[in-house]
Amino acid sequence: MPAFSCAFPGCRRDLLVIVLVVFVGIGLPIEASAPAYQSHGTEGSYLTNVTNTKKAFPVLAVNYKHVRQPFEIALWILLALLMKLGFHLIPRLSGVVPESCLLIVVGLLVGGLIKVIGEEPPVLDSQLFFLCLLPPIILDAGYFLPIRPFTENVGTILVFAVIGTLWNTFFMGGLLYALCQIESVGLGGVDLLACLLFGSIVSAVDPVAVLAVFEEIHINELVHILVFGESLLNDAVTVVLYNLFEEFAKVGTVTVLDVFLGVVCFFVVSLGGVLVGAIYGFLAAFTSRFTSHTRVIEPLFVFLYSYMAYLSSEMFHLSGIMALIVCGVVMRPYVEANISHKSYTTIKYFLKMWSSVSETLIFIFLGVSTVAGPHAWNWTFVITTVILCLVSRVLGVIGLTFIINKFRIVKLTKKDQFIVAYGGLRGAIAFSLGYLLSNRHQMRNLFLTAIITVIFFTVFVQGMTIRPLVELLAVKKKKESKPSINEEIHTEFLNHLLTGVEGVCGHYGHYHWKEKLNRFNKTYVKRWLIAGENFKEPELIAFYRKMELKQAIMMVESGQLPSALPSTISMQNIQPRAIPRVSKKREEEIRRILRSNLQNNKQKMRSRSYSRHTLFDADEEDNVSEVRLRKTKMEMERRVSVMERRMSHYLTVPANRESPRPGVRRVRFESDNQVFSADSVPTVHFEQPSPPSTPDAVSLEEEVPKRPSLEADIEGPRGNASDNHQGELDYQRLARCLSDPGPNKDKEEDDPFMSC
């Protein structure tokens, strides 16, 4: 990467001093000795070459040049992360000021330090930014994009993104041009195209800044997805406008044909980006179908295909951001049905990690670049820009909402509009685009200064005040809800109900097309892209299994029964009243069998296996099976004690009394079975869908046959039990974790692990 080498042209000694100062200034005693060595380093190696006497073999020789570039890069990243760490150790600060502000301030300080020393601070190189720092953030956003709110509001989002950005550009560009015409300002040299170009750079809402700020205020889903979706989708418009105005500025004149071509270009850029993303997404999904034997490299496919999508579309000057998002969205449902649970976790954490690092680096570099960059300050221009940004954003949002509300069921209230307008933050993309402006523009420095001022204003002022304003206006916050199976059932029920009622009305509406898409997806697409038999599995089952899995994992984490059900309510409270009458002899047999089951379970512990290529069964699986056994044991013990208590109420009734109500008894035992199998649902099939011959699976299957013997002893419907148990075997074989639901659940899983 050329960025760093060209940024430090000074001599090595100065670099070492800078590094020392930086570290000391931040109070880190790391590697204090290393720089000391380096000062002798190269001289030392020269000496040994030159003297050529019989000196001892150089035990310690240091060659800094050899590692210089990666060393510097690693140093910067480490610095950024230590800063981030530092903020969260100061609790009050992080509660008041958003992280992005703090990072920019740090960047300013570091840049100031470097300048004080006399070195040139590095500027945020645009190539570095667009090719390395931006993609992880966008991929993270796209992969975890909450699909349902996005698709429900896609019309609104598109209107804001396209028409809103166009409005901002022309409004600002036009008014600034008018401003420059005024004699007293002294900016007569700025022509209309340059102003429009400037307008196009500064008018786009920035996804990085929006993410950074909105993540901390937990606003309700609707507003969040509106602002966020807009920031992602306006990339196409920005790209087109920027390139368009650059071209025009070069040529100098604009014809009607050019404008028309510009419009065509917009469609090509956006739809082309979407197409490229979709292609790579399907490729990734298809590849993941075959990865059942090489689980370790699964996450890499996701990352690489997405990155390739981004690069390919950048190559053709299409919208890279849209390609990346579409790729993530398209590949996610299929990839997650195919990959193992561990790969899913890996992907999630790597994406979060990279995007976190990128974001931190971007903000720090923004600060540093501010100190570094060539500045040309013009009070009128800059102040007007800032004011115009605000004004045009507010006008745009109000005007567009007025039109959009005519078409929406859920109208946007004034509060929503305010947050959408206020949340239109500008960020590093605007800066990088401005930096990319060629030096031909004599106003380049002025533009850069204005852009930086706008960014600072929006991030600091708007970023800091948005949280208290949200509190003040009592805007609806995000509902922190646990995944509830009732809600899930009813969401599914509602979907079908509304589709049905639309059918009755004869109206081909929203739900109708969604249903058609789902059916198409299920019959054709999933067949190709999902490995094994899993493509037939409906979402509700997947959700239920995921919940069970989470409970099991929570138990492993906390070592006790999950507190999701804090009450003492258990299955026996909701079962229909009829309890089977059992004789004393039978009761003894039951107890004996239950106890022997317990013994058997204790003996079935797997031995560990470690293999580089299979990454089989880790501690987690052992723990889960251990926990499952514990849970089963507890259940059994409780059951036994309950039965013991109940026995005292029982009358011994002959068998034929029971037969009139076989359904009820059947119900009881099956649900008993279900309770057991509910424990075993989060089975060890984390890895593969194919019938595994692992010892653990065998142990489970061996466990199951015990139950029919229990049934048989209690005049139970044996046929039913064996059907049940066959179903269970099938079910266990097909046990997979699908992740269906959206960000709430993702964030919840984050809580035990991550602090930010």
Partner: protein, 216 residues
């Protein structure tokens, strides 16, 4: 087209509009659809709704059709089912899917929410005893998963049991092992579904727009 019709039926429409809250145009459109479904008769039967091709692959088709013939949804405090319905009753059932108006107070929204959830509750509570028992809930989940074959049936029981457990713990909190949770009452139902914002989700978009295309 709609305008001509509404002119002739105006007094009737006015009454219907007041009762259900639809606009004249919407009533006209729905009346046309009603006539189309019932083959120009005055009363609609189950068989007429059965023939709609779009409903054929809907897993809860039967429940949906039953909902139209369920007297509890006619807002007249009746119960039981009927064999055929008039246009007015059709419209009343449809009015459950109207979105709430923009300028509603919190109370009115609450009322709308209760009404919609009542509709859902009636769909689940088939024996009309005021509670959704475990059996009824199992039946609901089974129908939802009815397209997944044998696998669906087994898991349906597990899912329904887990769901019932959840309702019981949220509504009752603590129960002795000997106590028995009879079933989900309407109040409990409201409680567990209060987070899904049903007044914004249970709406048919078309009923909001003035222009539409009658397909089929």
């Amino acid at each position: 087209m709609g305008a001509l019709q509404s002119l002739s039926d105006e007094p009737e429409y006015r009454e219907l509009a007041e009762k259900t809250g639809f606009s004249f145009e919407q009533i006209g459109i729905l009346h046309k659809r009603f006539k189309q479904l019932s083959h120009n008769e005055d009363m609609l039967r189950r068989a007429d709704l059965d023939t709609i091709p779009d409903l054929a692959c809907n897993p809860i088709r039967i429940q949906i059709i039953e909902a139209f013939f369920d007297k509890r949804n006619f807002h007249q405090n009746g119960d039981g089912t009927v064999e055929e319905i008039s246009f007015e009753e059709f419209l009343v059932v449809m009015s459950h899917f109207r979105p709430p108006a923009l300028n509603m107070t919190e109370e009115q929204r609450e009322k709308v929410r209760r009404e919609k959830l009542r509709f859902l509750f009636n769909m689940h509570d088939t024996d009309n005893d005021g509670t959704i028992t475990l059996e009824e809930y199992r039946h609901v989940v089974e129908e939802l998963l009815s397209r997944s074959g044998a696998l669906g049936k087994e898991t349906a029981k597990g899912i329904a049991d887990a769901a019932m457990l959840e309702v019981a713990s949220i509504s009752m909190g603590h129960m002795e092992p000997d106590e028995f949770y009879e079933g989900i009452t309407f109040e409990h139902f409201l409680k567990i579904l209060k987070d899904i914002e049903i007044e914004t989700r249970m709406n048919i978009r078309f009923l909001n727009m003035d222009t539409m295309t009658l397909c089929k």
